[in-house]
Structure formats: structure tokens, C-alpha cells
Amino acid sequence: MDKVSSPKNTRVVVAMSGGVDSSVAAALLVEQGYDVVGMMMRLWSEETVVGGAHNRCCTPDQMADARRIAAKLGIPFYVLDTKEVFRNTIVEFFIDQHRQGVTPNPCLECNRHIRFNFLLKNALALEADYLATGHYARVEHHPDGTHLLRTGVDDHKDQSYVLSVLGQEQLGHALFPVGEFAKTEVRQIAARFGLPTASKKDSQDLCFIGDNNYRRFLSDYAPGVMQPGPIVRQDGRVIGEHGGLVNYTIGQRKRLGVHSLEALYVLDLNVAQNSLVVGTVEELGQSSLTAKRVNWVSGQAPTAPFKALLKIRYKGSFVPAQIDPLPDGRFVARFDAPLRDITPGQGAVIYAGDVVLGGGIIERPTVS
């Protein structure tokens, strides 16, 4: 049942941020004749911190901007109280993962639990047929009832990585109107509709940290990861002391505070022993990774190994890999040449050309 053919009877909730992308998404849908409802989620913020009264995704200014754009487009606009759900899922998860020495990608989890679950369910309860966002990605609704997720047309803006958690159920209700355009075109469209073209900062992935101070946040909420501990080589040799594991990311070379003739990089954050494992660039490279919590966009897990392209971080590049699906639902990705900076907690997203096949969360490698 493809309702797209009769927009007038099709209600679309647009997640509006006040920024240019979601504003243009809303404008395009209004122009196409859909019954459009604008919505902003009020997310949790650290109210106790100076500057933390509002989550950076939904400040009073952004709310006012979104409300004015909605008024200009002649659509209703509502703010949905999402504070508690966001706190209980995304923020808790973020803190918990850091306690385990893992650097999570909150945007992936937000799309999984908040946008395409909590918000989508609220939209469906509002008798909407679709939830639209300002993501740079494309969704194709095929007549046979299947739905395909593709990269956005603009390579530099592509956000399909953070949407790799979506399945057929979510995609069936998803619209990404700006994914068909380059950012420059989106700005032109905004100008055509008389919408403000000022862009928000792209990176808002830690929107809930009031003062944008990652380390201060974790020292308040996960003080364990701020304890000093040993810096070790893979063979267990102690070569220095670190000031808390949270200060380091995998692949980091600078500010390690150890003297060594060879260049040393962070290989692993060993929370169990509170040790920072460092090594050479050769040691940093890994020939494979394992991913868990895997989502296959089609809903069908492949059974045989296959060649594909992999992205191991949001702004990373495509890497050729062989994907081996495991019987327990995880997958192993093997690389032709060792790949560096594989970071547990980030997404490993599988592509066939511009089609997103699925993705998982990179596991902590079992380094001896």
C-alpha cells in the first residue's frame, strides 16, 4: 500500500530542529501537498550546569525558529516532552558505555530508540503515515512493500551511517526529503521558500552535555573513568601513568605523556585494569573487527560471506571488506590490509554501492 500517491490524505510528522535541513524537508512536503505536522522533541539536559538549562538540540531560540518556520509554512507545530525517555536511554547508555571503556555513538542510539521508536510511535498515534527528518539519506518505498535505504546524494553530507539502525518497519514510515539534494541546493530551496538559511553546527552528538565539556560530564557521572592508572604496552610492560581513561581515544598519538623512541598510539582502554594500552602504528592496525547488535535493513540476515564496503565511523571513508555473518547474529568484517583506529562502540555500517545493507556496533577486540 503506497500512500505517497495521494499526499493530501497522507499525514507526515516532520522532526523540526529550527535548522535549514529540517525546515526545507517540511517546506518540500508542504509543497507536495502532504498534511504536515511539525514536531520538536524536548530532550534531557544537565540543568545543574551553567549553560545546561537546555539541550543544544532544542534551545528556546531553536524552538522559536522552528515555530516561526512552521507558522510560515502554515503547519501546526508541537514540542514533545522527551526528557525522561532520552535520559533513561541515551544518556544512561552513554555513561554506561564509557564505564566499560567504550566510546558510544549517541546519534545511532538516538535514531534507534528516540527518533525512530519513541517519536515514530508518537507520530503514528497522531495518525501520521510518515515521519520525516532532515537527514541526508534516501529511502525508496518499492511497490512490493520493501524499502531501501541509500546514501544521500551529497557525499559530504551523507548521514546514512546514523540511520543504519533502521529496519523495514521504520523505513516504511520514513521520509528523507533533503537526501535527494546537495547542501547547496538545500540552501537554494530554503531561499526560494523564504526560510532562514543559517545552518546550525553539524555536530551535535553530545547535545545533552550542558557546557559541551565531555570530560567534566564523565567525571561527574562516571568518576571511575577519571582515575589515574598505568600506561602499558601489549606485553604488559608499564611505561607511564595516564590521568583517566576518558581522556583518550583509540588511535590517539598526541598527549600520551610517555617518552619513547618510536611513535606510540592508543590501542585500547582496558577498564578492568584501568590501564591504557599503547603500541606502534603496526600494532594499531587490525585485520578484522566483530560487530554486535546487528541490524539488517532488509530484515533478512545473510547466511554466506560477501564482499561489501564498510564505514567504521560517521565521517570515515568506505573500506572494502569481506563480511562473515556469524550464527549468533554478529558479523566479522575482514580487511585486505590492517585497518587502524577501530573504535569499540562506534557503528560498522555495511554498504553495497550507495545502498545501506545494515550495521552493527564494533565490539571490544579480544586483545591478549
Partner: protein, 392 residues
């Protein structure tokens, strides 16, 4: 599901302006546009209209024209009455204490709080019972020497309960203090005879009784030498500076006159619609309770708390289905706080989050009520199912 309708059940927030009122106002934009303070013929015609409006309002409230001041609305009236009377009392060295209720409109509550915070006044907040109505015995005991002013609303905006003004006036006057009442919600729904109520100050706002927004009236009993809040020209006998808003003042008087003359007919209709609504909601939607007094309440006002739903979400869902109602307090920012009025009445914060106000009007029909109750039932069930997944 019944056919979709558009239903406005938020008359406590504002009413449509009666076309007869609009018609009365029209000449004052383009024909009789002189400044009522001017000495020439243009000014005199406008002045005559303002003074005729004042006579009308005075007659309808059973008082004298010199006791009526035109304002920009309810909030200004409350500010002028409270601050003006408090300052007047201070000038006369009569005392320092102001009595009020925890369920007052913020135009009253915040004005008194400001006087207490930075002007050295003291306030006594007299508690209310579970209906939001003042405890008369406690109020009597609070009327101690040093009290110069009490401010008690005629009827509550959120829960519709009507306060026993006359007995309170007697208590206040026993101590030679003044009684102000915010009658913004009551006007057009219950008779407002300032002599019978024996109040000293009473504020009104036209848009609550089918008049235009941005205009109000304040009754000030003769002998209260109110200190102006807004100083300037000698308009309104020096009590409120600013060029008269002729068209809107004329509109207010006309609206008050219509509301007064047709009150029996309207109130009968309001009550019928309100009772249909209250009975159907309580009977058909499980987990609902009426807030405010069941009978001692405004005839057009129904308010509830509904278990397991959040009022701002409810308002959104009803809006999408064409129904305009109000949550406990206006919240458009997704950061709902429980209503202070409901908390003062002893409701738990959790319960107070599910508050809903539906206020009927002259145009409300039985079919509207049916549609609203059907829709409300459907939406509440949907939201309860949705919430059960997320509430921990």
C-alpha cells in the same frame, strides 16, 4: 469514528468577538478617530463615546462612572489595583500586609510576590480546600491588624471554582482593609454587582466575554486614592495615563452589555453543554476526575485530571483532530510542570500532569460535545498504550 469536526472548547482562554460588538467598534477606527483628550469637535465625539461606555460599564456593575478606569486588560487591572492600593495604603501609613490565595492568576500572585520581595510588603497566602475554595475560618483569622489589602479571585481560571466573595468582603472590611477581586473569568457567567459583592476593586477583561482583546476595566471604590502604576497625562482622573483606546473601550462596554442582558439565556446553554460534557467524560473515560467544585463553579467550565496521560501531549493530539482545549497551564515548550493550582488543592504532581480544561461557549452544540468525548476517549486510550511502553 465520527466525521471530523473543528471544535473550540477553550472559551476560558478567549472568546470570539461578538459581531454586534465589532460593528459598534468600526466607526471609531476611521470616522470618530479624534483623541478623546483633544479640545476640538473630533476629540469631543470620541470623548463622548468613552464616557458613554464608562456609564454603561458602571451601570452594569451597579456603581458610578467615576469608579471605572479603562485598562489594557485583566493583567493590567490586577497590577494597577494591587500595586496602586498597596502603595496608597503605605502612603497613608495604614499597614503592610496583603492576603491572597495560592490559586490566584499569576497577574495577582506575581504582583504581590514582587511587592513582598522588593518593596517590603508582607504576604499571607491563605490555603484552599480540595476544590480550590478558600477556607473561610482560616481567612477570618488571617485578617489581622496590619492587613491593608486582600486579593481573591471571583472564579478560578483552571478549575472554575467560585469563591465566596461576600463573606470574605465582610471579614476584610472588619479590619478596614480593601478587597480586590480578579473577576476576569467570572464576567459574563456570574452576576457582578459590586455593591452586592461589597468588593473595593474588581478587574475585568473584555475578551473573556465576547469582546475584543487588549482592553479591560477596573472598578475602584470611591475613596481609594489609588497610586497610578503608569504615570503621564491626566487620563482616567490621573489613575492611568495613556491615550484612550476609543474603539476597544466602546467594544468592551457593548460586550459587557450584551453579556449582561443575555446572561440567563447564555448561562442556561453553558450549563447544559458543560453538564453533558462532565457527565459523559466521567462516565465513559475511566481514570478521570473532575477538578474544582462540582456545583460552585463557572457554568461554562469543565476541568479534569486524567490518569496516565500528560496534558500537553493530550492537547496536541486533540488539536490534530480539530479540537481546541487547554492543558493545566499553557506549555508550548515541552517542559511541562504540574499546575500550582492543582498542587495547592492537594493533588499529587503526577496526577496534576494529566490536567485538562474544556470551556464551552455560546456556539457549542451537543454534536460538538459528542465529538469531543468520542475523540478524547480514543486519544486517551492511544496515549495510555503508548505511555505504558515508556514510563518506568
Amino acid at each position: 469514528m465520527t466525521e471530523r469536526r473543528t471544535v473550540y472548547l477553550d472559551h476560558s482562554a478567549s472568546t470570539p468577538t461578538d459581531p454586534r460588538v465589532v460593528e459598534t467598534m468600526m466607526p471609531f477606527f476611521t470616522e470618530i478617530y479624534g483623541n478623546p483628550s483633544s479640545a476640538h469637535s473630533f476629540g469631543r465625539r470620541a470623548e463622548a463615546a468613552v464616557e458613554t461606555a464608562r456609564e454603561t460599564v458602571a451601570r452594569l456593575l451597579n456603581t458610578q462612572p467615576s469608579e471605572i478606569v479603562f485598562t489594557s486588560g485583566g493583567s493590567e487591572g490586577d497590577n494597577l489595583a494591587i500595586r496602586g492600593a498597596a502603595w496608597a495604603a503605605r502612603k497613608q501609613g495604614r499597614g503592610n500586609r496583603i492576603l491572597t490565595l495560592p490559586v490566584e492568576h499569576s497577574a495577582v500572585g506575581k504582583t504581590i510576590a514582587q511587592l513582598a520581595d522588593i518593596m517590603g510588603f508582607e504576604q499571607t497566602v491563605v490555603p484552599v480546600n480540595s476544590y480550590g475554595i478558600v477556607d473561610e475560618d482560616v481567612f477570618r483569622r488571617a485578617c489581622v491588624p496590619g492587613v491593608v489589602l486582600a486579593s481573591v479571585m471571583a472564579a478560578n481560571n483552571e478549575v472554575g471554582s467560585v469563591q465566596p466573595l461576600r463573606p470574605l468582603a465582610d471579614m476584610v472590611h472588619a479590619g478596614e482593609a480593601w478587597l480586590h477581586t480578579d473577576a476576569v473569568q467570572a464576567a459574563g457567567q456570574i452576576p457582578l454587582d459590586v455593591r452586592a459583592l461589597d468588593v473595593d476593586l474588581l478587574s475585568l477583561s473584555a475578551h473573556k466575554f465576547y469582546g475584543p482583546k487588549g482592553v479591560g476595566a477596573l472598578y475602584i471604590r470611591k475613596g481609594i486614592d489609588l497610586i497610578p502604576n503608569q504615570s503621564g497625562g491626566s487620563h482616567e482622573d490621573g489613575r492611568r495615563a495613556g491615550t484612550h483606546n476609543t474603539a476597544f473601550i466602546v467594544g468592551l462596554a457593548k460586550a459587557l452589555e450584551l453579556a449582561h442582558d443575555e446572561m440567563d439565556e447564555h448561562v442556561r446553554h453553558f450549563q447544559m453543554m458543560r453538564d453533558l460534557l462532565i457527565d459523559a467524560v466521567l462516565a465513559r473515560i475511566p481514570g478521570t476526575e473532575l477538578t474544582g467544585h462540582p456545583t460552585q463553579r463557572l457554568p461554562a467550565h469543565a476541568s479534569f485530571v486524567i490518569d496516565g496521560v500528560d496534558s500537553s501531549t493530550l492537547v496536541m493530539h486533540l488539536d490534530v483532530r480539530g479540537i481546541a482545549v487547554s492543558g493545566g497551564s499553557a506549555c508550548k515548550t515541552g517542559n511541562p510542570e504540574p499546575s500550582a493550582v492543582l498542587l495547592a488543592m492537594g493533588l499529587s504532581p503526577k496526577k496534576a500532569m494529566g490536567s485538562l480544561r474544556l470551556s464551552v461557549g455560546r456556539q457549542t452544540t451537543e454534536a460538538d460535545i459528542d465529538y469531543v468525548v468520542d475523540t478524547l476517549l480514543d486519544v486517551v486510550e492511544k496515549l495510555r498504550n503508548l505511555n505504558s511502553e515508556w514510563i518506568r
